[in-house]
Every structure is written in C-alpha cells, then in structure tokens.
Symmetry: D2
C-alpha cells in the first residue's frame, strides 16, 4: 500500500439494485437490508483505497465495524437502482470513520445516510492494530 | 390499548441463540445479524407494550425505523445465548425511542448497545401518525 | 453420545414466528427465509439427537448441508406462528437425511416441505467423517 | 414481450462476489446465502428473457418459487468471484423451470447446481396465470 497508488479523493460510488429479498411486507426496502448493501459499498471503497477483500481474507488484519449510525430518510422500493457513495472522513491511530449516502438517481431522492466507525484488528487476537500508515500520509487533513 | 393493561416498566427482555447463519468467516456474529436479532426483541417489546405484530399486519399503522445507532462492544460467537433487553426511553407526538442492550448471560459480557428512533406511520400514505395516547398517559415522564 | 440418552423417535418440533425481515414486497414470507427458519429447526433437532451446537462450535466435526429440496406449498404471512417438525429419515456411513414439514397451527395449513442431506465433515480438512455410531445403533431401520 | 426481441438461447450468466455477510463461522459461504445469489441471477435472467423486475413490481403477475433443489458441490470462500449461469429448461402452461450452475472462474470449480420450478401468479389472488406466450413460441422445444 503506497501513497502514490492512492486516489486524491478517498471516496467511491457504486450502484446496487433492489431485489425481492431486500424488501418486506410493508412494500419497501427493509431497514436491515441497507446495512448489507452498505457493506458491499464499504468493501468496494476499501478496495479503492488499497485494502482488498482478498487481502483481508488471506491476511491477519481486518477492519471491524465498531459503531453504525444510520438515518432512514425516504423509503426505497423493489426494482429501484440505488447509488451508494462512500467516503473516508476521519483517521485515528487505530480506527477510521466512513460516511455513506444512499440516493436514487432516477429522482435524485436521498434514501439514507450512514456513518460507521471501523477498528482495524488482528484477527487471531481481536486486538486493535494501527490503521494503514499510507492513508495517514496521503490524507493528513483527515487526522482527528 | 388501555393504560391499565400496560406494565409499569416499559421494558422487556428475551433470549436468542446464535446460529451459523448469524456468524461470518471472522468466526463471530456478523454486524448486520444483530439488527435482525434486535428486530425480534423490538417486536416482542412492542407486543409487551400492547402493540402486537398481528395488529401491525392487519391494521393501518405501523412503527418504522427512522434511525439506528449501534455500538459493537464485544464479539459474540456461534452457540452463544444472548439476552436482549429493550426499553422505551422517549415519547414524542409521532415518534418514540427505544434502547437495547445485548448481553451474554454466561459471562455477563455486554456485547452491543443500540438505540432506535421509531416513527408511527399510516401504511397507505407513509405519513406519520400520533404515537399511542395510552403510552403517553402511562409513562408521562418519557415525554421529551 | 450414548444410545440410552437418545429419544426413540428421532424427531423434534419447534415453533417460530414470522417477523418483518422474513417477508417480502409480495406480502408473504420470502422463499429464502424458510431456509433460515429450517436451519434453526435443524439445529434444535440435532441437539435433541445429542449433537449440540456448542459441540459443533468447539469440536472438529460438523454437519454440512450437501443438498436441499424444498417445496413451497402455501404462502405464510407476517405475524404467523409456524410449526417446524424435523425428522431423521435416513442414515448412511458418512451422510444422513432429514425431513422438515412447516405447518401453520392456526389453520392446519401445510406451508412447505423440505428434505436435506447432510454430510459430517472434519472442519480442518473438509473431509467426510462417519456419522455418529450411536445413531446407527439406536435407529438401525434408518440405514439406507 | 415479442418473440423477435428474445435471445435464441434462453440463458444468461453473471458474476457475483462473496462478501463477509455471505460467509459463516465455518469459513465458507453459508448454504442459505447461495439462494440469495441465485435470486439475483434469476432476476437478471428473467430480464434477459423480457420479464423485468420493474414490470413485476408494477404489474399484477409475478413468478413465484414453487420448488428449489440445490446441490452443494464444493465450498466457496470470502473474496471469491462466482459465476452463475442460469437457463430456462422447461416450459409448462403455468409454470417453468430454471437451472443454475455456480462456478468459480479462478479455478474452474463447480460450486453448486440448482434447479427451480417457478409458477406465474396474479399477485392479488395468488392464482396461477399462463406463462408468457412469447416464451412458448420462441422456444417450443422446451415444452414439457
């Protein structure tokens, strides 16, 4: 993970579709389903920032969700295409925070906003480890 | 829903078990799984407070999650029995807030803490409706 | 695991409720949700037959689903209570088969029928191991 | 839905990735997770065959899973990319059958094979309706 390979803006957007299994009998996307969609966006963001899922799977250090806050703004529905924009917003020595905005491009509606604090841990011990040094060098303005 | 039928303490606890489908390849309960377990506890709490799932399914007014905050304190694992204690902590005219604590009775560990703000809506329109009057009469100290 | 501790009839029934997260926008229980409910029933059946989830978690041998067949007979809905009856129906040297019937006690409707073939494997290697000897001694008529 | 707009081969393949929420504490993709991935592949196949999810959501006729058979051949793991090839294999007056093969392109391994029988129903009544006529005209060799 080198500073040069990192994007200037620590953000990434992806699109996901709403399938039947995302919805509930109220006719809308179920509140828990958003967190699975956000995990997909978070994994893609992590890879965009140089920390691939394959490395997490093979290696010893993984980011773990320590806290989630999510505001449900408007309901999404079956067959909607949603855009999830994730961004690294804060860097601490052994944790970092991400923000996600879920929008519906078809009408520009904001569907949900989410913030997550992640802790990097050594899988074998569960102990926190330092966040990637290259991240702190590349985006010093994000240091808390 | 009458004041007399309501418990003095607007709280309820239940126990759930951790099955394989709750866990992930990190060997612990997956962060999203807790929100499904908390929904089960929330539904049981609502019924304890006189608002049954059958009524939600049949009727026109349902509580919808407007915001979730959850702190993951310690990992839980396969085969753990978890205790989830839910409590009504705040009442507003068309919303109310609940708090949940997830503990593991076997060792007394606190696993997670969660707060959710719920909005009562009319299903057909998605418009907010007033929270049950009996709740505000029974527990006036919870008015915000 | 001794023959004496085993029930004469290798069957077990449990009840589960249908929550919002089990349903979809069609207003019924989602087809995938049944398999999670059946996993809960299967784990309880396994424990009734002396193979506890705690042992699976701690030990080296776990039962793995090799094949699932499920027929969806009638839809179930939000707030339904479902009864899932599981039964050991066939024993082979390193696999065994289970059958599940999902019914709704309120009206006696059959909701789904499922058959699963399980293989006992050593977790570290993924290699099949022998099914519990006590099972084959207790229920010799189930040998294929 | 016209015959001319339909592909000659009623098949479609897509790729999906394995995220943490697809795995379990055994370190492999959980058996239930495959059925969610197959639902995504099935929806894309249906759209390739002219029956879009948006139409399902808006309209009155939806395909419902009547039976699923799935064989788990080899385990998949975190960070794997899986290829799911779906194919329409049989057409009856009010039902049709699909087959899916899940493979891992990285090593060519077959991970799972699945067959599903779908029934087209009118959502309001739950009653079966006829499968699309254009399908039976385009692929007469699939008539049972």
């Amino acid at each position: 993970l080198t500073v040069n390979a990192l994007p200037d803006d620590p953000a990434h957007a992806c699109e996901v579709r709403v399938y039947y299994f995302d919805t509930d009998a109220g006719g809308v996307v179920h509140n828990v389903a958003y967190l699975r969609l956000i995990e997909e966006a978070r994994t893609r963001l992590a890879e965009h920032l140089g920390w691939s899922l394959a490395e997490m799977a093979a290696g010893h250090e993984v980011p773990v969700v320590a806290r989630t806050e999510i505001d449900y703004v408007r309901p999404a529905r079956l067959a909607d295409t949603l855009r999830i924009t994730g961004r690294l917003v804060e860097l601490r020595s052994s944790s970092f925070s991400l923000e996600f905005e879920v929008t519906r491009p078809a009408d520009g509606a904001v569907i949900a906003r989410c913030r997550q604090r992640m802790v990097s841990v050594r899988l074998a011990t569960g102990r926190p480890v330092r966040t990637p040094l290259a991240w702190r060098e590349k985006w010093p303005h994000l240091a808390a």
